[in-house]
């Protein structure tokens, strides 16, 4: 597989990889609890990006070459006649679920942080470890 095919035809994949690794590094390496949850958010959205880019079909440039290009998955008969095709709605449904789950996790983490800060007066992991003994 040559470089052009590896990087250009699959740039969506590389963008997901970069974002996911940034997020994961943030969640693991940072000592501040808020930063951890920010890293986690980036990590999760990166996975959603992968799902959505799996669903997408066609490129807009290619329409000029007579190839098909994607349209939103809402019934549109005229568009189909003009050579559009619907993108895949399945990952959309999965990602909708994922986004809500991510928001719920975030809310719970925030509540925990507020309680921790009230209890210990700090959000730094190593200080917390000292205070907990």
């Amino acid at each position: 597989m040559d470089v052009a095919e590896m990087f250009l035809a699959r740039y969506n994949y590389w963008s997901f990889v970069v974002l996911m690794l940034i997020g994961l590094y943030g969640a693991i390496a940072y000592g501040n609890l808020v930063k951890k949850i920010i890293g986690l958010s980036i990590f999760q959205t990166a996975i959603f990006l992968l799902f959505i880019s799996l669903a997408d079909v066609g490129k807009d440039i290619e329409r000029t070459l007579g190839l098909k290009s994607g349209t939103a998955p809402i019934v549109w008969e005229k568009g189909i006649e003009e050579g559009y095709i619907y993108v895949n709605p399945v990952p959309h449904v999965l990602v909708l679920t994922g986004i809500v789950v991510a928001a719920a996790t975030l809310a719970l983490a925030l509540a925990l942080m507020i309680r921790i800060y009230r209890e210990y007066g700090t959000l730094e992991e190593d200080e917390l470890k000292e205070l907990m003994g």
Binding site: A72, I74, L96, V100, A107, L110, A111, I114, R115, R118
Partner: protein, 151 residues
């Protein structure tokens, strides 16, 4: 709050009904994008906006917690209830959440009944729960919880 905020207050008061109407518009219907989650969040946003402008205290009065709790439960009762209803109504012939097997199918073709149930019952149920949940999430995280150390 001082009188400086009178512009903000008036603007918000005028905007609120429109935001809420938009929330309901997004929530129902199957033609366009949107659904219970988005509509519910927009609806919750209107209350949060109210809370930010007029203070959390007044926001709490506009969306009392007893109502929030009730709506949270009712929304899911509607959703899961429709699921159980389909089993009971069809006497075990149809599956959980098989919307064709409800009373509505007596009046309209069952495919149309499915559409109606999705758009106007299920999505409203989701919207109710989501809106109430986000309102109570926001007020729980903000409201007065720092006044005394007690948790």
């Amino acid at each position: 709050m001082s009188d400086v905020n009178v512009v903000i207050k008036t603007t918000v008061r005028t905007m609120l009904p429109f935001i809420q109407l938009y929330g309901f518009y997004v929530m129902t219907g199957t033609e366009g994008a949107g659904g219970g989650f988005q509509g519910g969040v927009i609806l919750a946003a209107s209350f949060i906006l109210y809370g930010i402008t007029f203070g959390a205290e007044k926001g709490r009065q506009a969306a009392p917690e007893s109502w929030n709790t009730a709506f949270k439960s009712f929304g899911l009762w509607i959703y899961a209830g429709v699921g159980m209803l389909t089993i009971l109504y069809s006497l075990g012939r149809a599956e959980f959440l098989n919307y064709s097997a409800t009373f509505l199918s007596l009046f309209v073709p069952h495919t149309v009944a499915r559409g109606i149930l999705i758009a106007d019952v299920i999505e409203i149920g989701i919207g109710m729960t989501v809106a109430a949940s986000f309102i109570s999430l926001f007020f729980d995280l903000v409201w007065r919880s720092d006044e005394d150390g007690r948790s």
